[in-house]
Symmetry: C2
Subunit: 417 residues, 2 copies
Amino acid sequence: MSLYVMKFGGSSVGDTERMKRVARRIVEKQDEGHQCVVVVSAMGDTTDDLIDQAKLLNPEPPAREMDMLMTTGEQISMALLSMAIHQLGRSCTSFTGWQAGFRTESVHGKARITDILPKRVIQALNNNQIVVVAGFQGMTDDGEITTFGRGGSDTTAVALAAAIKADVCEIYTDVDGIYSTDPRIVKCARKLEEISYDEMLELANLGAAVLHPRAVEYAKHHKVRLVVRSSFNYNEGTVVKEETSMEQGVVVSGIAYDKNVARISILGVADIPGVLADVFGALAKAGINVDIIVQSGVQNGEADFSFTVSLSESEHALKVIENLRDHVPYREVNSEHNLVKVSIVGAGMISHPGVAAQMFDVISKQGVSIKMVSTSEIKTSCVIEGGNLEQVVKALHTAYNLDTDAQVFVGGPQDRR
Amino acid sequence: MSLYVMKFGGSSVGDTERMKRVARRIVEKQDEGHQCVVVVSAMGDTTDDLIDQAKLLNPEPPAREMDMLMTTGEQISMALLSMAIHQLGRSCTSFTGWQAGFRTESVHGKARITDILPKRVIQALNNNQIVVVAGFQGMTDDGEITTFGRGGSDTTAVALAAAIKADVCEIYTDVDGIYSTDPRIVKCARKLEEISYDEMLELANLGAAVLHPRAVEYAKHHKVRLVVRSSFNYNEGTVVKEETSMEQGVVVSGIAYDKNVARISILGVADIPGVLADVFGALAKAGINVDIIVQSGVQNGEADFSFTVSLSESEHALKVIENLRDHVPYREVNSEHNLVKVSIVGAGMISHPGVAAQMFDVISKQGVSIKMVSTSEIKTSCVIEGGNLEQVVKALHTAYNLDTDAQVFVGGPQDRR
């Protein structure tokens, strides 16, 4: 007998028919002799519908009241799924985030978990109940309802799995697992049997939407064995764990891309100590996330540097820099928007020198110029023109021996919460 | 400065436009220098939509999970209304039932309030906040979410008004107040300026849907000054309070009717001691509410008796009696379904003998036969054929001097939760 945490995203419980299928899936797991704790997201479009209603009443609704509103989405899912499980003749108890013992810091919209006191969950398991928990939500010590932000239900599942010492945390979604790259671009993308936490973390951070980076971080920290698999079929998924048995010749595990990239360059900045700190301090203060930073050498007491931000934040970033002009003298600022970041990720890169060089070579052989580069121990990212994305991803996929013979067909949009 | 509890029913907050109007109404009250605690029901059809979804998954959903589901309706209303109030530039905090301190017994679907600990409500008021509370819900000492059943939000409002010692509890609905009878039947029905708790209790129990009997009972017990008024205009409503200044010649305050009536008669029952207790004990055990009971005299050691139940429970009641046959011998059972109960209510009946006799006289002059009668200190009810309802109510309304010259126009269905 194993203890499973099973997380189902919004599209897996998108309507009552899907809800019934999920209920059967859970009951099958129990029939195999296992204990089941289920974490569930809001049904399909519920979250968007609630946001739309809120915006009609207040274009900038207070974060506290948004949390009050949004948490009802998961509470509805949780109660309905519990009813569907009862209908199959099983005992089942649902819990809101606060009932399941999720305590958080006092921040609305993106609270971090401070503690989990899963007493009621464990009691219910001991009474042979299936337990259904609302994802994405918790409570502060003052009894305020909070939410975890994007990917919050994944985090609920992983954190709960750690707290109740579950054997496995299964993330059910609408794809079969983690792929070597986006199967919508590369038809012969390969489903990975397993991947390490670190690789998954890089992939998640680099734009692979299947798992939220925060949930992966939590899993890594608490050594929770994660399985990503489809709620629509019984295919084996991808195991995310500490160490993976390195396949022969596989240096790169996956290729990720991010279309949400803009480059900003500041030219002719006076090379005064502290200038970089001033610029990036101001951007941080404005809540803008900076990704890659590249500084060229100093000439005639002036330096040029470039950095990337997400497309949606680029206008804001330009304004921040405009406002700095009196304080930080520079000659010129320019920006570029039609860019993408392509990244190769693989734990094997640590022991295989020259992987980055090979990447540059593959890209240049496609006649594509590399605008910026960023590296870490297990990933290399290149910023290129957006129009070259598909061609470059395909070429890299082939170059790193990731192609399979099989073609992958992907359904709807992936669960994101 | 007065402390107001203002309760808005589901039709008053049926869509975002209505929600905005309610928000303005609350802000106006604050502008007059008052403190406001608002109790809100689920928006329009939300409750029915949730029930429909539940039934698709489980025709008999567990009561606990239904409470989990249903309470989201009020939580959505509460958060949205709070956002609308913020949009008008006011500080506002919303609370779920459990956050507002409603403690209940451990019964799902119709829990009674055991205690109210409104610490957070009072704190928020002291910080000059408008407070919005989700109606209809509370929590057990074990942290289980419960609901109060039909009329639950009225009960929330009245109970909270008592707990925080509010000066007035205003029930906003889609009619202008309490009427002498249903204005949909009698166009010249009169809006009452005031009515006593006892009269209101009888009217509510007898089918007037504007206020739930339980809320009236609570108001009477805690002497909460209630005002029933429209959320769609600024007309004065009806004040419900302990003593009313009796108007000259007004003996009967209101006429109520109930279309949900079935009569069951058991004929030729052996007159053994305990027979009545056996029959009505069995019905009570089956959860069937019996209203009027009439027993005829005993002849030849056999008795006949009749009683009324609600139409929807009559089939079930007949089955219960069928099953009793071995235990309680009787000759025949029959039933009648096309019936209504018409009632006159008035505190003045105590000091004016002959009011009931006058009622029988009015009805018989309409050529309508009375099938059953029931009386209390301040009401008399007659069961008649359903087809005669309108004619009889109009005749009684005129006979007791309740007609006004004005015609009343009534909008949509009344708030029922």
